[in-house]
Structures are given as C-alpha cells and as structure tokens.
C-alpha cells in the first residue's frame, strides 16, 4: 500500500490562529482556559477556552465572504483557507473534503439564535464549506463522538488507499454552546476549576472550542516540513456501556494493539503518547489501565486538555497537529494541570517542557461516548 501523510495544518483557537503560534504558547505553558460566570450560558461558573470573536471576524472578513455564516462556519473556513493556501493543491475530483464535528451548528436549534433551525443539519454545514471553496466533491461528514477528529484521519487514509482521492482536506470543529455545557453539566462531568488530567485532584472536564485542519495526502510533492506518515490506525468499541468507559480499557487496548501491529512497531518504539486525558475520574483511570496493558507506561505522555479544554470533534485532529510539531521540534510539551499521579497504574506524564529529544514516532488516542476508541500511530517523515 502507498504511504499516506498528514501534511499542512492549521489551528484556529484561543491560543492563536496558526499551528506555529499555538505551539509556541504551549511551549511556554500558556493556557487558553479562563473562568466564565454568565448565567445566560450556564447557571454555575465554568472554565473554557474561547476563540476571540473580534479576531475571528477580522480574519474571516479578509476572505471576502458573501452571505451569512455561523460562528462554527467562520472558524472552519478560516482554518481550512490557511491550509488550502499553504498546500497549493489544485481542486479536481481527486481532492476530497472530510468534516469532523460532534454537534456542528446545533446552536441554531436555540430559539434565540439568529439562524433558522434547519441550519443544524450537518449536510448543510458540509455544503456551505464545499461551496465556499468550490470543492468538486461533496463533504464526507464524520460524527462519531469524541473520537471523530482522529478517526477522520484514519478515514481519509482509507479513502486514499482505496484510490478514491489523492488528497483529502480534513477540517474539524465544534463550538462551546449552552447545549454542550448543560449536557456535560447534567452528567456532573464539568469541572468548576481548571482541568487536571491524570491528577489525584482532578474534578472533571473543561469544554473549549477550536477549528483544526490538516491535509492528508499520498503525494510527496505536497509535504510540509512537519509532515508525518500514518503508520497504523485502528478503532475498537468497548461493547460495554454507552456513557462510561470500560473498566479494563478493552476497546482502547485493542485499538492500540491493532495500530501497533499495522505499523509493525513494538511498544518500546513509541517515543511519545498524545493521550485523551479529559480529567474525569473514569476516563483517565481507563486510559492508565489500557496503556499499562499495552506496556506503554514508561512512554512520555501528555494530555493537551489543560491548554484548550476538551474540544470535542476537533480534539483528535488538534492534538495530532501538536504531536506533529512535537516530533518536528524534538520537544515534549508539559501535560498542563498535572501535579501528582491520581490513577491506579503508573504513567510517565510530562511535567515540564523537554527540548532536544530524539522523537520519531507518536501514538494518538481518543475515546468517547458510545464506547468508541481510536488509536493512530504516526512516524516522522524521513524523506
């Protein structure tokens, strides 16, 4: 099978509007999370990382948009535009578009939202993005809970290897809305403090918003310096519970095993893990069990939720892009919010930024409602 790469990329977030700027902030351990108390959004105070509306409007207007666009569409279009410009790929029927989102424009269901409720249909979002850039193919929309962003990369690779496309632009995003916040709050999963993945004092999730985009391609003529090869990927269901992770980490463990097998790598050959780490009691514990069963407990690991919060359908792609830059910069970034291990099994959590490492491979994992888990292994491009 031909090799498939993740190449040009962009992040639109509270920490900046380019991947490089965002990564620099992470290196300096700057978080985008801040405390918000606004009863029109949620009765109780919460932490979130929100994109500046002024900055978003400023960047979006540069693209000379015609018509009315939702906040999510503005985020996605701004991010995707940057990657299309950088990659210099001409659009034809061999260029695909994948959109990863959990809730899309669900805020249009709110009677106070200026857009009609029909805007909440995800295919409408797909058509809006397609038409803005004049893609020749319809958007493929993936909505598979919190694994969507990383699953989208595996799906792009599969369509390229089936010879449907040569290049796929994968754009991801979700917005922070009362819809999402009230739901996680009803689960008592939302933290009133800064999230602390894997820490003994963790108290739950912070929800944030980003749009992240990457080019997935089979062409060595369109590779950014930080490009990586997709070496192995797998998704496995827990077959256990729709809203709670498996106590044995079964689905995640199996996903990791199958991804390692496809990548033909041993656990000792993984240099870094970009984990899910939502900072709920059950999720982090489940991951610790799955990583130990996989003999990955000594591999340096972080969760990036302490910088962005949980960004839902974008998180897997966002964290993959940071991982690519981590490999390129040979730097391991701090797992922000972590102090003392609070899971029952050992993990090698990155406590401070470590430069001048020799990094060649990384594993990205995610897990979500519905019992879904995805693991993808990336290799530094040595061309």
């Amino acid at each position: 099978m031909n090799k498939v790469y993740v190449s040009y990329n962009n992040i639109v977030s509270a920490l900046g509007f380019t991947s490089e700027f965002v990564v620099e902030n992470i290196q300096n351990e700057i978080s985008g999370l801040e405390r918000i108390h606004d009863e029109s959004i949620l009765p109780n105070p919460f932490y979130s990382a929100l994109i500046s509306s002024e900055k978003l409007e400023e960047e979006f207007q540069k693209l000379d948009p015609k018509g009315a666009f939702t906040r999510l569409e503005k985020m996605m279009i701004t991010s995707l535009h940057s990657v299309i410009s950088d990659s210099k790929i001409e659009f034809n029927d061999r260029v695909g578009l994948i959109i990863s989102t959990t809730k899309g424009n669900v805020d249009a269901l709110d009677s106070e939202n200026p857009f009609p409720p029909e805007r909440a249909y995800l295919a409408t979002l797909g058509n809006t993005i397609r038409d803005f850039f004049d893609f020749k193919n319809d958007a493929i929309i993936i909505s598979n809970a919190c694994v969507s962003g990383i699953l989208a990369i595996a799906v792009a690779k599969r369509f390229i290897q089936q010879d449907t496309y040569d290049h796929v632009f994968v754009v991801s995003g979700d917005v922070v809305s009362p819809f999402i916040l009230s739901g996680f709050n009803s689960f008592q999963a939302l933290s009133g403090e800064l999230c602390k993945p894997y820490d003994e004092n963790r108290t739950g999730i912070n929800i944030g918003e980003v749009s992240a985009t990457a080019l997935v391609t089979n062409s060595t003529n369109h590779l950014a310096p930080e490009s990586v090869e997709i070496a192995g990927e797998s998704s496995c269901n827990d077959a256990n519970h729709i809203s709670g992770p498996s106590r044995t980490g079964e689905g995640l463990y199996r996903s990791i095993q199958l991804a390692l097998k496809q990548a033909k790598l041993k656990p000792s050959e993984i240099d870094y893990i970009s984990a899910h780490g939502t900072a709920t009691a059950f999720n982090d514990e489940m991951e610790a069990i799955a990583f130990n069963r996989s003999e990955l407990q000594n591999v340096p690991l972080n969760s990036l939720k302490g910088y962005f919060g949980h960004t839902l359908g974008a998180s897997g792609l966002l964290e993959t892009i940071i991982g690519m830059h981590s490999l390129f910069n040979n730097t391991l970034y701090t797992s922000k919010g972590f102090e003392t291990l609070g899971v029952s099994q050992p993990l090698n959590i990155i406590k401070s930024t470590q430069k001048n490492k020799s990094l060649h491979t990384f594993l990205k994992t995610a897990s979500g409602f519905g019992g879904c888990n995805t693991a993808v292994i990336f290799k530094k491009n040595t061309l």
């Binding site: 699953l151 729709i242 079964e250 519905g370």
Partner: protein, 205 residues
C-alpha cells in the same frame, strides 16, 4: 486481484413495515413511531429491557440490526468481528431537539443525562456493539441521502485491510416522525455482489 465481497442479507424498516431479505416480516397500522416500534419489538420477541431506555434513532437502528443479525445464526460464544458503518441525514437531531427544549427556558431548566447521551448519532452503534459483543470498528457518517458509492468504498477498505470479517452497513434516519432503516451485511461469501448498483437497487425496493 481484488477479492469479491457479497451482500449476505439486508433488512428494512420503513412505512410501518419490516422486511428481511425482501420479504415482509412485520406490518402494523400504528400511527406513530412509538407504538409501531414497540409492536415490532414484541412481535420479534426481542426481550432486551435496555431497549426501552433508548432514543428513537437507537431503537430503530438496534431493531434493524437485531432482526438481521439474529437470522445469521452467529456463534455468540466466540467473538464476531463485524464492523458497523452507519449513515444518515438528520444525525441525532430528534434527540437534540429534546435536549434543547429542556434548556430553552431558564425558569424551567431540566437537562437530563439520560437524554443528553443520545445527542450523538454513534450511540446506536454502541447499543448494537453491547448486545452483540462487537469490539470492532464503528463509524457514523452524515450525508444528504444514501451515498452507496462512499459506503461501498469504505466497507471494502475495512475488509481489504482485514479490519473486519464482515461489515454491517447502511442508513438509519429519524427526523420529525419520519423513520427509515436500511441495513445490509457484507461478507466474503454470498450471492449478491457488493457494489453500489446493488446497494441502490436493494435500497429502492
């Protein structure tokens, strides 16, 4: 040379009718979906109490999958590596609207975790995975209508890469009391060749 794959069986639930491999197995004149799907559950002797906690989309997807899979004489003592590749138009909007109603009025605010968990379309894949102990690949796609071409390509990729022995795929949509399920099982053996033409033909019958 590329291996051939086949559509082994297919199940449809629409217009108050359930059919399996083209034969009507249940029909009822119930007006609304709630009564109809309960009648299907009873007629099929499903005996799975978790069914009553599910939202409409999951009930529809679960029963279509269950009616198809129980006819396959699977050995449930061993693991069955059946991937799930589902798609629809309305995502989980039916339940999204319920959750939105619960939070719309700040003076009458009652978000519920039992509703919120179903505001994701892939939850129905979890429900089917739990019943059949499927530790397998699952993906949920959203399209304007049945996209036989992309579903067939994606299914082939899972079988080509040995990510699954069989793939249960198709369309499950629930929106404003309009419901439609069309699921088909793709395997390495069978009579109907797995291609987009046959998927469309079966869907339209």
């Amino acid at each position: 040379m590329k291996p051939n794959y086949y559509i082994t069986s297919y199940c449809q639930i629409k217009k108050q009718t359930v059919s399996l491999n083209g034969n009507v197995v249940f029909h009822d004149d119930s007006e609304g979906f709630t009564d109809f799907i309960k009648s299907v559950y009873k007629a099929e002797q499903t005996k799975y109490p978790k069914f009553f906690k599910m939202d409409n989309l999951s009930k529809l997807a679960f029963l279509a999958a269950d009616i198809l899979l129980k006819n396959e004489a699977l050995n449930t003592e061993i693991e069955n590596n059946i991937a799930l590749v589902f798609s629809n138009r309305a995502s989980s909007l039916d339940t999204d609207r319920l959750h939105q109603e619960a939070i719309q009025d700040k003076s009458n605010y009652f978000p519920s975790p039992a509703v919120f968990v179903y505001t994701l379309p892939n939850i129905c894949l979890g429900e089917i995975s739990i019943k059949y102990k499927l530790f397998s690949e699952n993906s949920f796609f959203i399209f304007d209508g049945l996209n036989a071409d992309l579903l067939a390509t994606y299914t082939n990729s899972l079988l080509d890469l040995n990510k699954a022995e069989q793939v249960l795929c198709g369309w499950v949509d629930f929106d404003e009391n309009h419901y439609e399920a069309f699921l088909y099982l793709v395997s390495k053996n069978g009579k109907i060749k797995h291609n987009k033409k046959h998927i469309k033909t079966l869907y339209n019958t």
